[in-house]
Amino acid sequence: MRASLGRILAIVHKEVLQLLRDRLTFGMVIGIPLMQTVLFGYAINQDIRHLRAAVADQSGSQRARWLVADAEASQVVDVVAHVPTAEALEDLLRRGTVSVGIFVPEDFERRAAQGGRSAAQLLIDGSDPIVLQAARSLAELPLRDSGRAPPRAVPGAPAFELRPFYNPERRSAVQIVPGIIGVILTMTMTLFTAVAIVRERERGNLELLITTPVKTPELMVGKIVPYMGIGLIQQTLVLAVGSLLFRVPIRGTLFDLYLAGFVFVVATLGLGLLISTAVQTQFQAFQLTFTSFLPQILLSGFMFPFDGMPRPAQWIAEVFPLTHFVRILRGILLRGATLGEVSRDLWPLLAFFVVTMGLSVLRFRKRLD
């Protein structure tokens, strides 16, 4: 009994010594709970404010201006653009520049006076469920008779008629599946390449490779090319399942979809490669990959709406490839956007690839010192 206890303590002691010496694991013991708590706190915010909105006011009436001002005062929306027509509003929605469009028709005053039907329209990007829910509170806004607070409700129909776009049935599969393509690609692509270089190092193959005439960029490119193909296969699989099983629409062109997918795959491969040059063992590569994966899932807008997050979280999220790809996917799949219309989110992916690839090449030395 005593001997057994002694042996257990010996193992405990050895384990603690090893843990203290493994700086990465030890860092994760401290880092992961802190990071998770902060990220979840940031990301999970169902009380959505500051949705980006555009206004097309064709009535030019004072009451319409009051209505828009009240909508802004509610903090649910921030008006970022004024456009002349309903078509222009829809265009902004499709590009993902705004998620709410406020349309005030020419006959706004007449409709308001008549009552019985809504005087204005809210065009909403229905590809994000929580945006839809937040916008509904706007629809309840009363119309004013005067500019002085407090507003007095005019009896009759609500001011806004709700027009959810792109997912009128509000099916959650339609909202989730496009993001899942990005999530799956992020996880597998990063992991594959994260172990790519370090596996050679662990198995002793690197000593052979660095004595050959292979140049560092050649090695890096050669490492990621096969995974580009794998990425496209995975994209096809998730897309096929989403489309056949969950009836997720593909409103844009397949060409745009695959081109965007390719750029995204390349960006995540760059991240994996960078991880691979930073770690010493495959296990560390796994750890670091999952550490990088967590904030991407939480902050990308895949699980929680981007607009609901505080500014610092949004800035961090803008760095991640997944954030941009989720937007691109929703744009192309659900809103029928073209690649040109979502190019705003394409450039950051390319930039991300260039930076991670560049750093990987710089970090990797064809030397052992």
């Binding site: 198995r203 193959n205 000593e207 050959t212 005439p213 052992l368 010192d369």
Partner: protein, 318 residues
């Protein structure tokens, strides 16, 4: 006149190094090593583990940057011109560094492709190497399932794919049976006949014996160099062989003598290295053994490389 002579000398040297030094933190792994290794020879680095053999080889390949000193390998300065040097050298690492999950042929093909061999040449070269190193029957077997000797032949073949002029072999025979070792050395001599220079590190005396030239390394410093014959001739000690019934007692009796540099047991015999200054070493040992009441025969012996190694590394340990 002297100018042309110097250039001529340089061209016959495959490796030239002056004051080659490498630190790892506070540890000096290689300490001011000078080398002059002629072409078309097998040169051996002899030394125990941790003596700096691998570090020196890595510096000469351009894989490690020397902390100080400089080296020219096949006329290229290292590590500055390491990239161009890589086309002309082969390196067989101490640890098997080919791909376990590729077959023999796939491994050789890969190395050939990485070295940009033309397609036709590549096929011919790989076939030739498969035949030369008796790998052809197993060409489609994965490297991970090979025996030590087979792996070693594959590694040698792979390091030769691009027809290097200079071959670095880092303890190539450490996981190999004696029969395979003998065959391995025969293939090395065939390569030397074709003009290849070989630098091989080892801690086996019998392998060191086969080298044209030797450098004995000890704790990072070069303690002796020359041909095996020169080294045994120039040994700075008298070698005596003692045959006794009670070998361990005899050893104990000799160990304390100030003139005795070292005593090593070889089965029922002892090899004692005695200071050259001792006037009559045989008598000295006989007297010491007699005083301890041990019956023994003492004779002069031809120094072996091991004796040279012991004599060269003795007294530098502390």
């Amino acid at each position: 006149m002297s100018e042309t002579l110097a250039i001529g000398a340089r061209e016959t040297l495959a490796i030239e190094a002056h004051g080659l030094t490498r630190h790892f933190g506070d540890v000096v792994a290689v300490d001011h090593v000078d080398l002059a290794i002629p072409r078309a020879r097998i040169h051996g680095f002899l030394g125990p583990n941790g003596s700096g053999k691998t570090t020196t080889i890595r510096m000469l390949c351009g894989l490690l940057t020397p902390s100080s000193g400089d080296a020219r390998v096949l006329g290229h300065r290292v590590p500055a011109e390491a990239e161009s040097l890589r086309l002309e050298i082969g390196y067989m690492t101490q640890r098997f560094s080919l791909y376990d999950d590729l077959t023999i042929r796939e491994n050789l093909d890969f190395v050939a492709e990485v070295h940009s061999l033309a397609r036709a040449d590549r096929r011919e070269r790989v076939e030739a190497l498969l035949a030369e190193y008796r790998l052809a029957p197993r060409a489609s077997q994965r490297a991970g399932t090979l025996s030590g000797g087979q792996r070693q032949r594959l590694a040698l073949a792979a390091s030769l794919v691009h027809r290097p002029q200079l071959l670095f072999l880092d303890e190539p025979t450490s996981a190999v049976d004696p029969q395979s070792r003998r065959e391995f050395w025969e293939s090395l001599f065939r390569l030397v006949d074709q003009g290849t220079t070989i630098l091989v590190s080892t801690h086996y005396m019998d392998e060191a014996e086969r080298c044209h030239g030797l450098s004995i390394l000890h704790e990072g410093t070069l303690v002796a160099h020359g041909t095996p014959r020169e080294l045994t001739a120039a040994i700075e000690a008298t070698v005596l062989e003692i045959e006794a019934e009670e070998v361990r007692a005899a050893r104990a009796a000799l160990d304390g003598l100030p003139e005795v540099l070292s005593v090593a047991q070889l089965g029922t015999r002892l090899h004692a290295l005695v200071d050259l200054d001792a006037r009559d070493p045989e008598a000295l040992l006989r007297d010491a053994l007699a005083a301890a009441g041990i019956a023994a025969q003492v004779e002069r012996a031809r120094p072996s490389l091991e004796d040279v190694f012991v004599a060269a590394t003795r007294g530098r340990t502390t």
